[in-house]
Symmetry: C2
Subunit: 421 residues, 2 copies
């Protein structure tokens, strides 16, 4: 099982703080694991010969993988596209610079699909190499799952953090919109593009978020939600659920039962129509914005693009401003309905994906369970712990109200413990 | 007077559509005017030897100046900073590509202050060369005012569109947040950075916006607001007004009188406290975000930065997440108050700047009348037509509810006519 060989960020940092692990040694662990595994997993797009090892700051010694959609001034940045082969941005993306300022070591660039869209890349799923790791943050998720690194950055425009986390059996956290700075990524749809984090466990991803941002995200072992009866957890009965795989539906039901056993106030909650309509509006918003944001690339590099990407940008450019405005109206109504829903419930539980990672590398899987939350800007996390009969991971997605990242992370950490027990 | 020699976009397009002006001739007019004037005005940071002349599309033949904060793949892009001397981005900014797709000719890059912040650049005010043209979109505003080009792009994070438009006696339009795509600019504070447009008149800037976006922005000569008695125009009595120059205060009063004479329902309206508090929150939001967005530049290019810029980024990095969240709370409350205010009034009138362009090039002037509207995301426009005793222009700023760009532009066009009469 991949899970057993994953690197625990919390354990590494504890060892460092107790004087039992030197930052250089911590990074060397990752370099070793990468050397042993990446020829098969293909999670990395670039590995520097001599990474600059951070030795000061809260992330000193932490090797972090950077999705190759983020600019790095000292490593090539291809955005997953042959058009950008060998491209060297002048400066880092804001979050990369922030990670360096906190002491992190930029261990390498992880594989992104082309422009972080749907065209699959080369990375394989560490749990079964014949399956996709998901996308578009394929390399970041696989590198964690294969135990090569303790922390990684990704982005989500549709389902590119939560879905690969689910397929790879790790924790993937998409914070509230703009909690993490976005400058210096290759934008696809700016009103949706969101920076996310990956680590082996919910506890680790929460720790990573706290150390990166300097925010109190309260997911330490002593900070778990105490008065669980007052925390309302709702199994989200959206219409999509019927189309999910039976094993995923069973996992979700089991997750809700375990949450109840762990002391939370668990119930079921239906999907307001305005939220279903908002989900349907995601495509027009995404594609209209991609028509603008990626128009400059289409103009110069069309013949170095997949037909899937080029066609999507072209179709986006054909969407009228009126149709875009109409879609944004549905999104706005959806946000009003989402706020109202989070008056009735604190945490929603829903599948991270329709099922386990599909066989083959021809698709990165389906983001249908993720698009709504990206559009709503609400924080979401994929909690690992379940698997299907073949042993492939199934993630449970927890979602909270915009800005309630701390509550989400602390409840998700408690649920992760409950799923393990 | 600079005004008399300005290029009318509407007249150029009319001539083109009637077969009286070839796109190449239209561009040649601008090239000539630039050759005659720019040695003194210094509005351009770069002029290509042979610009690619667009001959198809609604903006065919329109020479557009691009603030040097937008990426252009075929012209150097310096962001107003010596650190980026000779920088060539791989692709255009989204709005530059959009302008090209509409047929516009990228006539050159206009001077931006360093990173579009407050450190002054070399451009002079065409109305009096001893005065600043304002900033940060200094070159775009001056190039229009000097009659060199009919259209230009700028950006506003504090007051960088409305203020230079006011100082230069032209129309500057800051649309609703994200009406125009932002990808491919050098970000300073992403939640504030807004693309804006410049032209000689309100009618021109509305036409430019409509042709660029394909939106019905309804500012054609036949589309002026008909039922003016139903349009409530409010002179905005914010506390700042007392600190404005007497000539600006007189111009604002006169503007309100003229609006009433033109048939609008004119009154006065006070500033809700929540909006004053939101204005005060602008600095922490801007500087915290600049600490992140420009952190990568500080890390590599500190010794090529002005102390003003470097110090602002450093101070931004020292702002705590809690202080930033607190500032965002004030912004949110301000938005609620702004929406409520626009239930009582359709258009607010307020100075575009405290007074006329300051003497000297040591400062680009004061954005205090602009910051609130940037933070609120509401559309704003500087309407030309007034001047002080020395003949320096004074702009009147009109503001409307978020998303009501069409209403703003049509009322502002009518007011512009009224101011002339």
């Amino acid at each position: 099982m991949a899970e057993n060989r994953m690197m625990s960020l919390a354990a590494l940092i504890r060892a460092r703080d107790e004087g039992n692990a030197d930052p250089k040694l911590m990074v060397a662990l990752s370099r070793d694991a990468i050397a042993r595994n990446d020829a098969v997993i293909k999670a990395f797009a670039h590995l520097p010969a001599e990474p600059v090892i951070g030795t000061e700051g809260p992330l000193a010694g932490v090797a972090i993988g950077i999705k190759d959609i983020f600019d790095t001034f000292d490593q090539p940045t291809t955005y997953g596209s042959p058009a950008y082969e060998g491209h060297r941005p002048r400066v880092d993306a804001a979050i990369v610079d922030l990670a360096r300022r906190r002491g992190a070591t930029i261990i390498g660039k992880t594989v992104s699909t082309e422009f972080a869209f749907l065209n699959p890349a080369v990375t394989v799923n560490p749990h079964n190499h014949a399956h996709t790791p998901g996308g578009s943050s394929s390399g970041s998720a696989a590198a964690i799952a294969a135990g090569m690194i303790p922390a990684a950055l990704g982005t989500q425009t549709g389902g590119s953090v939560i879905r690969p986390a689910s397929f790879c059996g790790i924790a993937g956290y998409k914070p509230s919109y703009r909690l993490l700075p976005i400058s210096g990524i290759k934008h696809f749809a700016p009103s949706l593009d969101t920076v996310g984090l990956f680590a082996a466990s919910v506890a680790d991803v929460a720790l990573l978020a706290a150390l990166l941002t300097g925010r109190d995200l309260g997911a330490g072992p002593d900070e778990q939600p105490s008065d669980r009866q007052k925390i309302r957890v709702g199994l989200y009965r959206c219409a999509l659920l019927e189309g999910a795989d039976p094993e995923m539906r069973a996992a979700l039901t089991k997750a809700a039962d375990m949450a109840a056993n762990a002391g939370f106030d668990v119930g079921e909650i239906g999907e307001p129509e305005a939220m279903a309509l908002a989900r349907d509006a995601h495509a027009n918003i995404q594609n209209y914005e991609a028509g603008l944001a990626c128009g400059p690339d289409l103009a110069l590099y069309r013949n170095q693009m997949s037909q899937l990407l080029a066609g999507t940008i072209e179709r986006g450019q054909a969407i009228s401003p009126e149709a875009y405005d109409e879609a944004r109206k549905f999104a706005k109504r959806g946000r009003v309905a989402t706020r109202a829903l989070f008056g009735e419930v604190d945490i929603l539980l829903t599948p991270s994906a329709p099922g386990a990672a599909p066989h083959g590398l021809e698709t990165t899987g389906d983001p249908r369970f993720n698009k709504l939350w990206t559009l709503m800007g609400t924080p979401a996390i994929s909690i690992p712990g379940f698997s299907d009969e073949a042993g492939l991971p199934l993630g449970i997605q927890a979602v909270a109200r915009f800005g309630r990242d701390k509550a989400l992370l602390s409840v998700a950490a408690a649920l992760e413990q409950a799923f393990k027990a």
